[in-house]
């Protein structure tokens, strides 16, 4: 899933200071799962913003709506009946959702209330970690199902650097060395010999380096 974290309250207040009526839009997908921008967080942020305005002797009218999927134009349409009643929109979705709302309502300012972080998985309650960088040419088949592009700090494709120590990355003892994990996994699969095949220089065109990406499925389009 795409993970996100709510922005500091002061930053959000800074965005909406000039306005008195806002639409606070959550999303029921990834940001709900990572507890950053679902219905519950919309409610909490709404109260926090109204209280902050009250302290300043101002009134903030907040309309709340959490869409099924904010990155889908079909669901964004549900905002149409509310949009004329507000001065600005604050989105609690990932960057994709924010942009869909901004695209649909050209005359309304739209502000993000979360920082979109990464594609990751839940490690345990309340902890998410990066797993994929969307490089567009998956290497997991040769790395034992552990991604060096996303999980090695130097995205090395041919093994660990000289800074791998006790299974941890040199940048931070909290970070696992991806190549230690890969090596352990290759061994448990009995295919550690495959490590010695050189992975050639990656073609980064399939990643962000090739410019903004798009998928066109002729069979569906």
């Amino acid at each position: 899933m795409i993970t996100a974290e709510r922005k500091p309250l002061d930053e959000i207040i800074d965005y909406i200071k000039p306005f008195s009526r806002i639409l606070l839009v959550g999303c029921n997908e990834c940001v709900t799962v990572c507890a950053a921008g679902g219905r519950k967080e919309v409610g909490l942020l709404s109260s926090a913003l109204q209280m902050a305005f009250m302290k300043e002797g101002k009134v903030l009218d907040v309309k709340e709506l959490t869409l099924e999927r904010q990155c889908d134009p079909e669901y964004v349409e549900e905002l149409v009946p509310l949009i004329d009643q507000v001065d600005a929109v604050v989105s609690m979705a990932c960057g994709c959702g924010v942009q869909e709302v901004a695209k649909r309502f050209k005359e309304k300012p739209v502000f993000p209330a979360v920082n979109t972080k990464f594609m990751g998985a839940s490690e345990r309650q309340g902890v998410w970690a990066e797993r994929c960088q969307g490089c567009g040419d998956c290497v997991l088949g040769m790395t034992g199902g552990i991604c060096p592009v996303a999980r090695c700090s130097k995205r090395l494709l041919n093994g660990p650097c000289g800074g791998s120590s006790n299974g941890k990355c040199e940048i931070n003892p909290e970070v696992d060395c991806a190549w230690q994990l890969i090596w352990d996994r290759l061994k448990s699969l009995g295919i550690e010999k495959t490590y010695e095949e050189i992975v050639p220089a990656k073609d980064w065109r399939t990643s962000r380096d090739g410019g903004p990406r798009k998928i066109i499925r002729e069979d569906l389009a």
């Binding site: 700090s153 090395l156 041919n158 093994g159 650097c161 120590s165 006790n166 090596w183 050189i198």
Partner: protein
């Protein structure tokens, strides 16, 4: 001979090679490089010039190499994949070669988080093994990484690093094998303090006959003080300093610790030169270049062969 590299010639003639290194200055002070390199004149076969080591901005390795070359000495161009993509690396390589620089060391480089610009984007378009492959392709096939022909291809003698002390230990010989396969000609290792572990690694290297395919220069760094020994032990990732060594240095008075450090360094060289497959030494006297001639002499590596 694959190249005009003095280092290649020294190794080919069967001598134990000696290299050392200069960290370029943090500003436009070319005289600093000249001072450091002058100290090494006649005592080493070639001088590594680091490339923004520990991710701290310094004079570029290429520029400092050029200064050293102009002094009639032999620089080794260090290059990391952290700061440059394959376009920038290849253009610098042909640029360096155009100035007679013919030996280089291919590294991934320390992560930016260790340096003075932790906010910088890191590049890592290639890893060190892909980097070696690229330089070999430039030399042996006369082609850029992208496939186009190069006019007068750069003939670089290709170095790489190996750290026998990093984890997982059992992967360190296979990793060397990959660097050999990619086309590296010589290796400079991480500083050897844990001689026993180094020998164990060398055993694995010999078992696979890798020592016959690549020239391994063992890295050594003299300790200036017990403080430095502790720092290396506890703070430098991938460094293995045994407790006995720290104890030995702390066992002598403060004003004798530097001498004890030099002594340990010389003893290490004397011990390692007997290890089958060790083809030379890379003496990294960090901001202590003035001690290199003494180490080289005391270790019996002086005079250097005339090539």
């Amino acid at each position: 001979m694959k190249t005009e590299s003095v280092l290649e010639k020294v190794l080919a003639a069967g001598h134990l090679a000696v290299t050392s290194e200069c960290g370029p200055p943090r500003g436009a002070v070319p005289e600093k490089i000249r001072e450091k390199a002058d100290i090494l004149r006649g005592y080493v076969d070639a001088i590594n010039v680091t490339d923004n080591q520990t991710a701290v901005v310094r004079m570029s390795s290429f520029a400092a190499c050029l200064i050293i070359k102009q002094m009639g000495l032999e620089p080794i161009l260090q290059m990391v994949t952290r700061d440059r993509n394959r376009l920038a690396m290849q253009s610098d390589i042909i640029g360096a070669y155009s100035h007679g620089i013919n030996t280089m060391l291919c590294l991934s480089g320390d992560h930016p988080c260790f340096g003075d610009h932790p906010m910088a984007a890191n590049v890592y378009d290639l890893d060190s093994i892909q980097f070696i492959q690229m330089v070999r392709k430039m030399r042996d096939e006369g082609k850029f990484q992208g496939g186009d022909d190069i006019l007068n291809p750069p003939k670089m003698f290709i170095g790489a690093a190996a750290n026998p002390f990093a984890d997982p230990f059992e992967l360190r010989v296979p990793r060397l094998a990959k660097k050999v396969k990619a086309g590296a000609d010589f290796i400079q290792t991480q500083c050897v303090y844990n001689v026993e572990k180094f020998e164990k690694w060398m055993e694995g290297v010999r078992e696979r006959g890798l020592h016959e395919k690549i020239s391994i220069l063992a890295g050594v760094t003299p300790m200036k003080s017990v403080g430095m020994a502790r720092y290396m032990k506890n703070k430098v990732p991938g460094m293995d300093v045994p407790d006995e060594l720290v104890k030995r240095i702390s066992g002598v008075p403060k004003d004798k610790q530097a001498e004890e450090g030099i002594k340990i360094c010389v003893e290490t060289i004397e011990h390692l030169r007997e290890v089958d497959g060790v083809r030379g030494f890379h003496i990294m006297a960090i901001e202590w270049e003035q001690k290199v001639p003494e180490i080289v002499e005391r270790a019996g590596l002086y005079p250097r062969p005339k090539i």
